[in-house]
Structures are given as C-alpha cells and as structure tokens.
C-alpha cells in the first residue's frame, strides 16, 4: 500500500482540493454577499439581477460551468487568466467554483436576513441610516450569525464539488483516483476507501465547527 502512495501523490492531490476549496470559499462568499445585498436592496433592477443570477447559476450543473470555462472561454475565446499554464487552469477552476457557489451563499445569507426581525430594519431607517449603513451595521451582523449553518452546508458542498475541477484540468484527487483505478485495478477498493476517508477527514471537522459556531454565535432573542 505504501508503494501505491509513493507512486501517486495522493496527499498533494488532496492539498490541491483544499486550496481550491479555501480560495473558492472566499471568492464565493464575496460574490454571494454582493448578490444578497442586491436581492435585499430597495432598488428593483438590482433585485432582479440578483434573482436572475441565482436562478440561472444555481440550476446549471457545475460540470457544465467548468466546461464552458475551459472549452468555451479558454479554448475558443482564448482568454488566459495567467501566463503560467497550470496556474491558468487553477484560476479557471477557482473562478467557476466561486461563481457557482456564490448563488448558494447568497441564498444562505438571505435566509439569515430572514431571521432578523423586521423591527430591526425599521429602527435602522428610523434613526436615519441609509440602506448600506443599515445593512452593514444592523442587518448583516445579525444575519450572518443566523446563517452559519447554511453557510457551513454550502462549504461542505463546495469541498466535495472541488473534485469537479478535474474537468478544468486541475490535478486534484478525483482525477488521480481515476488514474490509480485505471492502472491499479488490483487494489481498486483500497484506492476508493483512501479517497472516501480523505474527504471524511476534511468534511467532518467542517461540520463540527459549523455546529459549534452556530450555537455560539446564535443571536439570543
């Protein structure tokens, strides 16, 4: 078994998934936050933009988004995100993961916003805060604390979806699993178990942290 692990860099591949996950988590949070602000804003066109983005992207399979990125944008339109050949694909994968999960982050934050009583928004307006200040100082701090659990679920989904980056030619663990299974069918079950176990080791702590944080940060009302 040690021989298998020395032949294939499984840890390196898992590390690639973690890098994809962390960067895409940051990216999707930023985009998702902007989308959520659009959807709760008082401006009709922004609301429609936010709703349209979420409904289109959320209902498009991630693999398709990845393929549009690599076969469409990179191959046909010849857009390079980086002059480094491999890093270019990494950026494509992070961008696609971010754009896709942003729609879920947006909805998670919006569900958090729904936990904030209407009186809070009315009070913020009553003391003269414009929309952005009301959102920044009153609504979002409470909404994000209420959205920890759905955001955690999105992060868990993102972790596992990072395997789709194989479609964007990133050397991550699902592609490596395919290679290992093709050439070492004699230990196929073992290979499968290693990958499954690896994901459990990454995902279970995220779940525990999410539960702990959501208890700790919950707004007592």
């Amino acid at each position: 078994m040690g021989e298998l692990l020395s032949q294939y860099d499984v840890l390196g591949a898992f590390w690639m998934n973690i890098k994809l996950t962390v960067l895409a988590a940051v990216g999707s949070f930023v985009i998702g936050l902007v989308l959520a602000l659009c959807r709760i804003s008082p401006i009709g066109s922004l609301q429609k933009f936010g709703a349209a983005y979420v409904n289109i992207v959320r209902n498009t399979p991630l693999t398709i988004i990845m393929v549009i990125g690599v076969l469409g944008v990179w191959s046909q339109l010849q857009v390079q995100l980086s002059s480094d050949f491999d890093f270019n694909f990494f950026l494509y994968a992070v961008a696609c993961l971010s754009l896709y999960h942003a729609s879920f982050v947006c909805e998670a934050i919006r569900s958090g916003v729904n936990t904030v009583p209407l009186g809070q928004a009315e009070a913020a307006r009553a003391i003269g805060l414009p929309f952005m200040d009301a959102a920044r100082l009153v609504i979002l701090p409470q909404a994000l604390r209420g959205a920890v659990t759905p955001l955690g679920n999105t992060l868990i989904a993102l972790t596992k979806n990072s395997t789709v980056a194989a479609a964007a030619s990133v050397a991550e663990v699902s592609g490596m699993m395919k290679t290992m299974m093709e050439f070492r069918p004699d230990v196929m079950v073992f290979i499968f178990c290693i990958v499954a176990l690896g994901f459990c080791l990454i995902v279970i702590p995220i779940g525990i942290c999410t539960t702990w944080l959501s208890d700790r940060l919950a707004v007592a009302r």
Binding site: V67, S75, F85, A167, K178, T179, E182, F183, P185, D186
Partner: protein, 280 residues
C-alpha cells in the same frame, strides 16, 4: 393477533420482493434459457474502435473483431448484446458477470491480470501524437518542449511524455478525447496523445476528416487483449479466432475501414509477431 398477521404479511411481501429481485440476474447467467446471448463489453464513445450512436449498430475495429470472434464461438450477430464498459469499470464488469468478454482498447498488463484473464492480443498499438494537419514541427514526443499537450483524465500517457521525453511540455487533461480534439482544433493545444489507433480513429471521424494527422512515431507498445473473467474457458478459442481473422484478411479489412483516410499504418512487425497469451 392482528399485529402478528401484519408481521407475517410484511415478511411474505419482503420475500416476494427478494425473489423477484433475484430472478433477472439468474436469467442473465451463462445458461440463458431461450437463445443464449453473448454479452460483449465495448466503448461507445471511441470513433474508429468502439462507437455507438443511439441504438444503431456499434461500429469500429474493436466491434468488428468482436463480431468475428463471436461468430467463431457460435454466436451470430443477433445473439450479441453490446454493453458499454468505460475504462475504469472494465474489471468490475467482468468480475460481476455483467459481460462475458471485453474488447475495449484493453491493454494487457500484469496488474490487470490479477483480476481478469486476457486472450489475444488482437492488436498491438503504441502511444503516438495527433496534430493539426498543417503542423510540421512536431515529429515525435521530443519536440514537445514548450508546447501544449492534451490527454484524458485517468491516463498516464501525457505524464509519460513529460517524464521521459519533454520536460517542458504543458499538460491539459480533459474528460474525453473529443474535448481534446476540440481544443486542438481551436489551437490552444498543439498535440493530443494516446494510443495511435485511437488517434487514427478520431482523425478518421466524419467531423474531423482532413483536419488532423497522426505523427506516426509510436514510442510505447500497448497489447490490446480480449478481457475475460478469471478462469474463463473461452481463451484458447478466442486466440484461434483472432489468428484466423488475421489469416483470412478480415482483420486488415476492418483496420483499413476504421482508419480510412488518415494514412495511419499500424506497426506491422509488432502485429505480425504478436505473441498470444498462454491461456493457462
């Protein structure tokens, strides 16, 4: 009493379900009652080798060899059941009895022999490069430094080039060769690599006619075998069928059809002297 009756009914229903669930698998075994069929695993997505559009008859070199071997074993074409066996699923399909044999660009390797038996080889391929037909600078794997090369996720053919021939090559991995060919046509990669006959099949596909060429400088040896479940008794008969197919010219005919118009010639020396598996 009423609860007891309910339990009995549930148990009976459960038994019936299990019984019906078992029925199809026992029928699908070797003794198939009315009219035995031969289930052959092929690729459905490899033009020139194993390709099936919808419910049409599958076509390609693998399927032609499969038909010939099947008829030698006493199964006419209407008794063949075609099953799709993607690369990663081939050993499982044989072990679980989903197929009786596999002809799907299946290279004979020692690791695979631990789980399945092989007859053949019916073809000896070699890793090669596919380039755009106006490309003249790439004559072999050594010319790939600084170039972009595409292969399929789960194959090591591109990595082999990087490790052994051209350290400065950039690798792109895609889900299938069709994607690689699209990128090759768009110009973002300079070559696609895998076994020469697969490349020739791609180049011969109608949509790609005249756009690509196989470099013709194979640098590995891949012996395509007929995958069989462990302990199969068909091995020797299949070997005899393959020998016969080569002798009566059907083999060459099938190969020419599959690679028409690409100028591809398999390595004659390797194919003529291919040593058959021992069928122990």
């Amino acid at each position: 009493m009423r609860r007891f009756r309910f339990l009995a009914a549930t148990a009976a229903a459960g038994l019936m379900l299990t019984a019906t669930a078992c029925a199809p698998s026992s029928q699908g075994g070797d003794e198939g009652g009315d009219g035995e069929t031969l289930r052959i695993g092929i690729k459905f997505d490899q033009p020139g080798l194993g390709f099936r559009a919808g419910n049409a008859d599958p076509e390609g070199f693998d399927t032609d060899v499969a038909r010939y071997v099947a008829s030698e074993l006493g199964f006419p074409e209407d008794k063949i059941e075609w099953v799709q066996t993607p690369s990663a699923n081939r050993e499982n399909a044989l072990e679980n009895g989903e197929v009786d044999m596999i002809l799907a660009t299946y290279s004979i390797t020692d690791e695979r022999k631990e789980r399945v038996d092989f007859a053949g080889p019916y073809f000896v391929a070699g890793q090669d490069l596919l380039v755009r037909s106006d490309e003249n600078a790439i004559k072999g794997p050594e010319d790939l430094n600084g170039k972009n090369l595409c292969s399929v996720t789960g194959s090591t053919s591109a990595q082999k080039i990087k490790d052994e021939y051209a350290e400065g090559v950039n690798l792109v991995e895609q889900a299938g060769y069709a994607e690689c060919v699209t990128i090759l046509e768009a110009g973002q990669v300079d070559a696609v690599t895998t076994d020469d006959i697969i490349l020739a099949g791609l180049a011969a596909a109608d949509a790609n006619k005249g756009k690509f060429k196989v470099v013709g400088n194979a640098f590995t040896e891949e012996r395509y075998g007929v995958g069989l479940p462990k302990g199969s008794d068909k091995c020797a008969d299949i070997n005899a069928a393959i020998e016969k197919m080569k002798e009566d010219g059907k083999w060459q005919e099938a190969l020419d059809t599959a690679t028409e118009g690409t100028g591809y010639e398999p390595d004659a020396e390797l194919n003529d002297n291919a040593e058959m598996e021992s069928c122990s």
